[in-house]
């Protein structure tokens, strides 16, 4: 570490001899300092994050008793076995399907959009990026609520349909509504990493490809897409993982027929009072997230 070197310099100037022991002691002191700086946050996260996570893990092996309580004695895999039952399995499959569909739609819409942003003049580009950032950070609940108002009975969308003569239509509480909400909620998560990686690509690669008589499609397929792959992977993970566990969007825009993983987990805790099943599902969700991240880092991604 640089700090260690400067420290040694002082001592050399003062005339002391730098022995290996001294160097080791200095290193240890450095290490101690670093540890003490990290300690408050470290301790906090162990108590209020790692410990709760461990509790969820333990509960996923527990048994629900007849009174809706949870017995910790007699650990078993019952809760995990329950995930294979048709009801739960269907919910898992539906959630995975919607999350994949959402990722695909966001990618299809977001890629050309990110490319468009990246090829603007710097000034225009900065303004446009700010315009993407605003909905990205604007209150998530409110953004979902806006669609609830728009899609509802007598809502704006329905009125427009009626005005055009297509008859009033209500999309609220259907999977279409959930899908719209998910795309709306997570599209910026896709656009920003895509933009970052497309923007970084040197134009001369694309020019070289065109100079060598590649068509526009070939240039996209063989040059642009591979070079922007980190952004594609990062964006896809950033969209897939939260939409798999989405809770707010389906609760506001979806109906009873479109129960997704997030809502199902919450129900297990609040109304069904089957904590072990809820805990095991939460853990499965985390495992999926972990797997997605491992894929990402294997692909050479550095930061999300």
């Amino acid at each position: 570490m640089l700090v260690t070197i400067t420290e040694r310099d002082h001592l050399e100037e003062e005339g002391s001899v730098v022995t290996p022991e001294f160097e080791k002691a200095a290193e240890r002191a450095e290490s101690r300092r670093g540890f003490f700086l990290a300690l408050p946050a470290y301790a906090y996260l162990i108590v209020f994050f790692a410990l709760p996570l461990a509790i969820v893990f333990v509960y996923s092996f527990a048994t629900r008793n007849r009174f809706g309580g949870t017995d910790l004695s007699g650990w078993n895999l019952e809760a995990y076995r329950k995930l294979g039952e048709p009801i739960v399995r269907n919910i898992i499959l539906r959630s995975v399907w919607l999350a994949l569909l959402n990722t695909a739609i966001c990618l299809a819409l977001g890629y050309p959009f990110a490319y468009y942003l990246a090829t603007r003049r710097p000034l225009v580009r900065n303004v446009l990026i700010i315009l993407v950032m605003i909905p990205f950070w604007a209150n998530f609940l409110v953004r979902n609520y806006a669609w609830r108002v728009l899609l509802g009975k007598d809502g704006f969308v329905s009125n427009v349909f009626e005005f055009v003569g297509l008859g009033s239509r209500e999309y609220l509480f259907t999977s279409t509504a959930v899908m719209i909400g998910l795309v709306y909620g997570f599209l910026p998560f896709m656009v920003l990493p895509l933009y970052a990686s497309v923007e970084r690509i040197d134009d001369s690669y694309l020019e070289a490809s065109r100079d060598l008589y590649a068509s526009g499609w070939q240039t996209f397929r063989k040059v642009l897409l591979p070079l922007s792959m980190p952004g594609v992977v990062a964006g896809s993970i950033l969209v897939f993982v939260p939409s798999l566990g989405a809770y707010v969007t389906p609760e506001i825009l979806g109906g009873a027929k479109t129960t997704l993983l997030g809502s199902y987990i919450v129900t297990q805790f609040l109304t069904a009072r089957n904590w072990p099943v809820g805990a095991s599902l939460s853990f499965v969700l985390m495992a999926v997230m972990g797997a997605a991240l491992i894929v990402y880092f294997r692909k050479g991604g550095r930061n999300l």
């Binding site: 420290e7 950070w137 209150n139 609940l141 409110v142 939260p242 805790f269």
Partner: protein
């Protein structure tokens, strides 16, 4: 990427139309929501003339005011705590090597990427099972409410602050710190007069991010809140499930305005001092 290669006319047209439609998609719902919050009509889909009534109703509704107050308190406290802890951890990770550093680094990333619902469940189990133990141990009388909400918000905000401050430290030349040390400044003085002013935009950016996320959260808060006190988003979430009213419209617009104001402040900060939202790295502007 400067776009010297423009592609065919058709491609360009498609790209422009796509971009226009996406901007419309992103902004139309927000703009309509704001517009209809001033509509003097109980039916939220129909325009009924301009009015401020719903905002007045928001101001007079005690439950909403209480929830807003809890939200502000939670946001301020969780931000203060997580800024201190997050900045310290960023310094430790960027400037020192110590035993357990890798594990700490990993642990610090988890709250950012964990699904909301999983974290919510963690907090529910932790507080419903652990609160009694904590109370017995310290002789406290805590119930679920302001404190527990704040604790869980700090648990995810430390990580966000740490990432933003780290990005700042990473891009910072250590030359000034070394110069200060060479001139016999103590570690504390070096930190106070050299490092801190340099990372200040990062710290401020992290703080703004923490406030925004704290005010945004629904799921984790819902699971760590008690029956008595809850935050504005959670209260509004409960209202929305019962139906759509002009009062919720007005409340939503206020929440939206607060979050957009925070974004604009952090973007201004980014322009002046240069911190990066979410610590995402991008190359220096080459114009």
């Amino acid at each position: 990427m400067r776009g010297t290669l423009k592609g065919s006319k058709g491609t360009r047209a498609i790209l422009s139309v796509n971009a226009l439609l996406i901007f419309a998609f992103l902004y139309a719902p927000i703009i309509l929501l704001v517009a209809f919050s001033f509509s003097d009509n109980r039916n939220v889909g129909q325009w009924g003339g301009f009015t401020f009534d719903w905002y007045r109703e928001f101001g007079e509704n005690d439950a909403l005011q209480d929830a807003l107050w809890v939200s502000v308190k939670v946001a301020v406290w969780s931000t203060l705590i997580s800024v201190v802890l997050g900045t310290l951890s960023a310094l430790a990770l960027e400037r020192f090597s110590f035993r357990g550093k890798k594990v700490f680094d990993g642990l610090l990333y988890l709250p950012i990427i964990i699904p909301d619902v999983t974290m919510a469940v963690m907090m529910l189990l932790f507080f419903s099972e652990g609160l009694e133990i904590i109370n017995n141990f310290f002789g406290w009388q805590w119930t679920k409410g302001f404190q527990t909400i704040t604790i869980s918000h700090v648990a995810f905000n430390i990580s966000f602050v740490s990432v933003v401050v780290r990005a700042r430290l990473e891009g910072m030349d250590q030359i000034h710190e070394e110069a200060a040390m060479d001139l016999y400044a103590s570690r504390w003085r070096t930190f106070r007069y050299v490092t801190l002013p340099q990372i200040a935009p990062g710290v401020a950016g992290g703080a703004l991010l923490a406030i925004t996320i704290s005010l945004d959260d629904v799921v984790v808060t819902q699971f760590s809140a008690g029956p008595g006190s809850t935050t504005l988003p959670v209260y509004v979430f409960g209202l929305i499930r019962r139906g759509v009213t002009p009062l919720i419209n007005a409340t939503s617009v206020i929440m939206l305005a607060i979050s957009i104001a925070l974004i604009l402040i952090s973007l201004l900060l980014q322009q002046s001092g240069g911190f990066r939202l979410r610590g995402r790295r991008s190359e220096p502007e080459s114009t």
